[in-house]
C-alpha cells in the first residue's frame, strides 16, 4: 500500500497543470520531495475540536494523508495520530524540538486566563508554555484553523478563558502563517506546506498573514449565484432556494477564500470538492475572517455591506 514519491509528484503535476501551482514552483517541489528527509512537523493542539485535523485527513487534491506521512513530512508529534502515549509521546516532541528548523503547527486557541491552565498539553506544560517553548526553534509557524489564527469560536464573547490566537500571543513574527477556516480546508494546509518546502520562505500574505494564494479573493464577487438569470442576481427569500442568500445572512461579501472554486471534500488528486456551504443553499459564515464568529453573527441576519470591498 506504500505510495511512492513518484505518485505524489504526479498529483503535484496535475495540480500544476490546472494552474494551482506554478511550474517553477513544481520543479522546486520535486527536488524538495526527493530529498530523503522530509521536514519535521510538530503539531500542538490547544483549545479546539480536532476538526482541522479531521479535515486534514480528508486531503487528496495535492496529496493524500498517507502520502504526506510516508513521503513528505516527518510528523514527530500529533496527539490524535501518534502511536506513543504519555511520557514516551512527550519525549518524542522534546527530542524533535532540539534540532531547529521544524514546522510548528498550532491547532486550537491558546487560553491566557487562569495562568494558561484552561488547556494543558501534558504534566507541567500548558498550551501557552508549549507554544512559547516550541516556537523557539521553529523554522515556520503555521496557525491552522479559526481558533489558532484569530481565536475563533473559543474566543467568542464573553471569551470565558481569555483565549487568543497564535499571532496575538507571539506578537509580530516573520515565521508565522495564518491558515484560517472553521474547519481549515485540507488544501490550504497542504498547499501552504508545499509552498514552504518548495520555496523555503513564507508565501505572499495579506494583512492578516493569510496566504494570498487561498485567501486573496472575495467569495461574493466570484460566487456562482451572481447573475443567475440573464445576468441579474436573484435573491433567495428563504433557505433552500437557488438565489443569492445575501439577504438571508450570507457573509460572502465579507469573506476572502477560494471556496467558490476549490469547494470541499475533493474526490481525487487534482480534483476540486463536491460541495460547499453556499452550494448547499446555506449562508457563508465568514469562518476565515478575523472577526468570526462574533462579527459574522447572527449567521442568518444580513450585515451592512463591508466598508472596503476587494
Amino acid at each position: 500500500m506504500r505510495i511512492s514519491r513518484r505518485d505524489f509528484l504526479k498529483a503535484a503535476a496535475a495540480a500544476a497543470a490546472s494552474g494551482k501551482m506554478a511550474p517553477a514552483a513544481l520543479a522546486g517541489l520535486r527536488d524538495t520531495l526527493l530529498e530523503s528527509n522530509g521536514p519535521r512537523v510538530i503539531w500542538l493542539q490547544g483549545q479546539g475540536c480536532d476538526g482541522c485535523t479531521v479535515s486534514l485527513l480528508n486531503t487528496i487534491h495535492y496529496a493524500s494523508f498517507d502520502e504526506l506521512l510516508l513521503n513528505t513530512i516527518e510528523l514527530d508529534f500529533h496527539n490524535t495520530v501518534m502511536a506513543s502515549a504519555g511520557d514516551l509521546a512527550v519525549s518524542a516532541a522534546e527530542a524533535a524540538s532540539v534540532v531547529p528548523g521544524y514546522v510548528l503547527v498550532i491547532e486550537g486557541a491558546i487560553p491566557t486566563g487562569a495562568e494558561g491552565r484552561y488547556c494543558r498539553l501534558w504534566p507541567g506544560m500548558s498550551m501557552y508554555d508549549g507554544v512559547m517553548s516550541f516556537a523557539e526553534n521553529a523554522g515556520f509557524i503555521m496557525a491552522v484553523g479559526a481558533c489558532a489564527t484569530f481565536g475563533g469560536c473559543t474566543a467568542a464573547a464573553p471569551n470565558p478563558t481569555n483565549a487568543k490566537g497564535v499571532g496575538e500571543v507571539l506578537g509580530s513574527d516573520p515565521r508565522l502563517i495564518n491558515v484560517p477556516g472553521c474547519p481549515c480546508h485540507p488544501d490550504w494546509i497542504v498547499g501552504t506546506v508545499a509552498y514552504l518546502l518548495t520555496n523555503g520562505h513564507v508565501p505572499p500574505l495579506d494583512e492578516h498573514r493569510r496566504p494570498l494564494q487561498f485567501f486573496g479573493k472575495q467569495i461574493h464577487h466570484n460566487c456562482f449565484k451572481r447573475g443567475l438569470v440573464c445576468g441579474e442576481t436573484v435573491f433567495a427569500t428563504k433557505l433552500g432556494e437557488e438565489g443569492c442568500m445575501e439577504r438571508l445572512g450570507c457573509k460572502g461579501k465579507h469573506t476572502h477564500a477560494d471556496c467558490y472554486v476549490r469547494k470541499w471534500n475533493s474526490s481525487g488528486p487534482g480534483e476540486y470538492g463536491v460541495n460547499w456551504c453556499i452550494e448547499s443553499q446555506s449562508p457563508c459564515l465568514g469562518c476565515v475572517e478575523p472577526s468570526y464568529p462574533d462579527g459574522m453573527s447572527p449567521f442568518f441576519v444580513e450585515l451592512p455591506p463591508p466598508v472596503q470591498e476587494s
Partner: protein, 482 residues
C-alpha cells in the same frame, strides 16, 4: 507496593485526557486497583451560546467537536425544531439521517484503524518512522503477516473514511462541520445525480465494512480473547436512540432505552442528573437535571479532582456508546468488555450503512427538505440523538428571542466522568479496575480499555482542572524504547 502511573497525554483520542491508575499485585497478578480520569481543556461553549440568536446554536455548537460535529448539529437542530415547533419535511429527515450515518461510518472506521488498532499490532519493521515510532512494543502484540495486512488496511481505511466524508458532504455541504443542517430541516436540494453519487460511495463503504472492517475486528478479537473479560465496567447501558425512521420520531433505527442491573427498561429524561461532589463546581449546582443545568465553577473545592461533571441516570452509573445502542436494540448481547465494545461498534457500522441504502430510496427528487420556522420569543427545547461514541443531548431555553440557557450533555461526559455523590466510579474508571498491567513502563492494557470507549474530550470536558495535583507517589512513565 502500590504504584501510581500517570498517562498524560492519552493519545489517539480526540482532545486532552489524563488517566491515572494505581497498580498493585492482587492474587498474584499485577493489576489496576484504582483509577481516575480527568480532562485537561476547557472552552465554555454553553456560556458562549448565551444571549445569541437561537438559530446560530446549530452552527456554533457543532464546533464543540470536529469528530462528531454532525451529531452536535443534529442534536442542536432537533432542539431548535422542538423549541420552534416546526415539523421537518421528509427529505430533511432523510438527508439529516444520511449525513449523520456517513459520519458514523467515518468515525467508526477511524476509531478502529487509526485510534485503537495500534494498541494490538506490532508495526516494527513496517512503520518505523514518526508518527508510528516511538511506540510501546509488548510481547502480546500481533506481528508478522496479520500486522502487515492490518497496516495495509490502516492506509486503505484512511481512503475509505475520506470517501465517507465526501459522501456526507453531498447532502451536508461539507465535512467536518455541516452547512446544510438548520432549524426546520436540511437546505440541500435532492437531485438524481446526488443520489447516484451518494450510492456509489455508499456501495464502496459497505463493501469495506463487510469485507475488511468487520473481519479485521473479529480477527483481532480472536487473538486477544482475554479482553472479553477485561474492561467490563459498570455493566449498565443507556441510549437516547437515533435515526428517525418516520416523521413521528417514535420509530428509530436505534431505540432509546437502558439496561440497568441486568434488566432492560425505558429511558426517562427526568431521571438524568449531573453530580458534582468530585467536580470543581459549587455544591448548589449538583444533581440538577440538564434542563435546569447550571455551570458555576468552584476551583478551590477540596473534594474535587475533575472538571467533568458526573451525569447519572437514577443516580446510577451508565455506559453509553455503540454497545449500549446495539444491546438495547437486541442486536448484540454477547457481553460488556473491551472486545464487546469493538465488535458492537463494527457491527453497528454495518447496520447503519445497510439502512442508509434504504433511506436513499426514500428521497424524493426536487422536494424541499426545509420548512421555514417562525422564531418564538420564549420557548424551551430538547434535542436528543446519538454521537458515534454515545447518547448526546442539547437543552435550551429562549427568553426575549435569544438563548438564555444552553446545556450540552455529551457521551464522553458520562463515559469519562469522575466519581459521583455516592462515590461510584465513572464508567471508564470502573472499567479500568482489575485490568492487568504486565509492564509498568508500557501500560498498553490501560490504553486498550480507555480506547474501547472512543473518548472525545472536546465534547466531554466543560472545564479544566486549574492545578496539577500533588497526590501520592507518581511514577511517570519513562520511555522503554527509543
Amino acid at each position: 507496593m502500590p504504584t501510581t502511573i500517570k498517562l498524560d497525554p492519552v493519545t489517539r483520542i480526540e482532545g486532552h485526557l489524563e488517566i491515572e491508575v494505581t497498580v498493585d499485585t492482587v492474587k498474584g497478578e499485577q493489576q489496576v486497583i484504582d483509577a481516575k480520569s480527568s480532562g485537561t481543556m476547557f472552552r465554555g461553549f454553553e456560556i458562549i451560546l448565551q444571549g445569541r440568536d437561537p438559530r446560530d446554536a446549530a452552527m456554533l455548537s457543532q464546533r464543540i467537536c470536529g469528530v462528531c460535529p454532525v451529531s452536535h448539529a443534529m442534536a442542536s437542530c432537533r432542539n431548535l425544531d422542538d423549541a420552534f415547533g416546526v415539523t421537518v419535511p421528509e427529505n430533511g429527515r432523510l438527508m439529516r439521517n444520511l449525513v449523520l450515518g456517513a459520519n458514523f461510518v467515518q468515525s467508526h472506521i477511524l476509531h478502529f484503524y487509526h485510534l485503537t488498532a495500534l494498541d494490538y499490532i506490532d508495526t516494527t519493521g513496517i512503520l518505523d518512522i514518526a508518527p508510528w515510532a516511538p511506540r510501546y512494543v509488548t510481547p502480546d502484540m500481533v506481528g508478522g503477516t496479520l500486522a502487515q495486512t492490518l497496516v495495509g488496511h490502516y492506509v486503505a481505511a484512511l481512503e475509505m473514511r475520506r470517501k465517507t466524508h465526501q459522501m456526507g458532504a453531498l447532502f451536508g455541504g461539507k465535512l467536518p462541520c455541516v452547512s446544510s443542517f438548520v432549524a426546520g430541516g436540511c437546505t440541500e436540494v435532492v437531485s438524481a445525480e446526488k443520489i447516484a453519487s451518494f450510492r456509489s460511495l455508499l456501495d464502496e463503504a459497505r463493501a469495506f465494512v463487510d469485507n475488511v472492517y468487520v473481519p479485521d475486528v473479529l480477527a483481532v478479537a480472536g487473538l486477544f480473547p482475554e479482553y472479553y473479560e477485561i474492561g467490563t465496567g459498570c455493566g449498565n447501558l443507556l441510549a437516547y436512540g437515533a435515526f428517525d425512521l418516520d416523521a413521528s420520531g417514535n420509530n428509530k433505527l436505534f431505540a432509546p432505552g437502558r439496561y440497568t442491573d441486568g434488566t432492560t427498561g425505558q429511558m426517562n429524561l427526568a431521571e438524568i442528573n449531573e453530580h458534582v461532589k468530585y467536580s470543581w463546581y459549587t455544591e448548589a449546582t449538583g444533581t440538577l437535571n440538564p434542563a435546569d443545568g447550571v455551570t458555576d465553577p468552584d476551583p478551590d473545592k477540596p473534594s474535587a479532582y475533575s472538571w467533568c461533571k458526573a451525569p447519572r441516570y437514577g443516580d446510577q452509573v451508565h455506559e453509553l456508546g455503540p454497545l449500549a445502542r446495539m444491546w438495547i436494540n437486541g442486536d448484540y448481547t454477547n457481553g460488556i468488555s473491551v472486545l464487546d465494545r469493538l465488535a458492537a461498534r463494527a457491527l453497528e457500522t454495518k447496520v447503519i450503512a445497510d439502512a442508509m441504502d434504504g433511506w436513499l430510496d426514500e428521497l424524493e427528487v426536487g422536494a424541499s427538505g426545509y420548512a421555514e420556522p417562525s422564531l418564538p420569543q420564549t420557548a424551551t427545547g430538547v434535542g436528543l440523538t446519538e454521537a458515534p461514541r454515545g447518547a448526546l443531548g442539547h437543552w435550551m431555553e429562549i427568553t426575549d428571542g435569544t438563548i438564555s440557557r444552553y446545556q450540552v450533555v455529551t457521551p464522553t461526559a458520562w463515559n469519562t466522568s469522575p466519581r459521583d455523590d455516592l462515590d461510584q466510579l465513572g464508567p471508564t474508571e470502573a472499567a479500568l479496575i482489575g485490568t492487568p498491567v504486565a509492564d509498568l513502563e508500557q501500560p498498553i492494557e490501560v490504553l486498550r480499555v480507555v480506547h474501547s470507549f472512543d473518548p472525545c474530550l472536546a465534547c466531554g470536558v466543560h472545564l479544566a482542572r486549574p492545578d496539577d495535583r500533588a497526590r501520592g507517589t507518581k511514577v511517570l512513565i519513562q520511555p522503554g524504547i527509543a
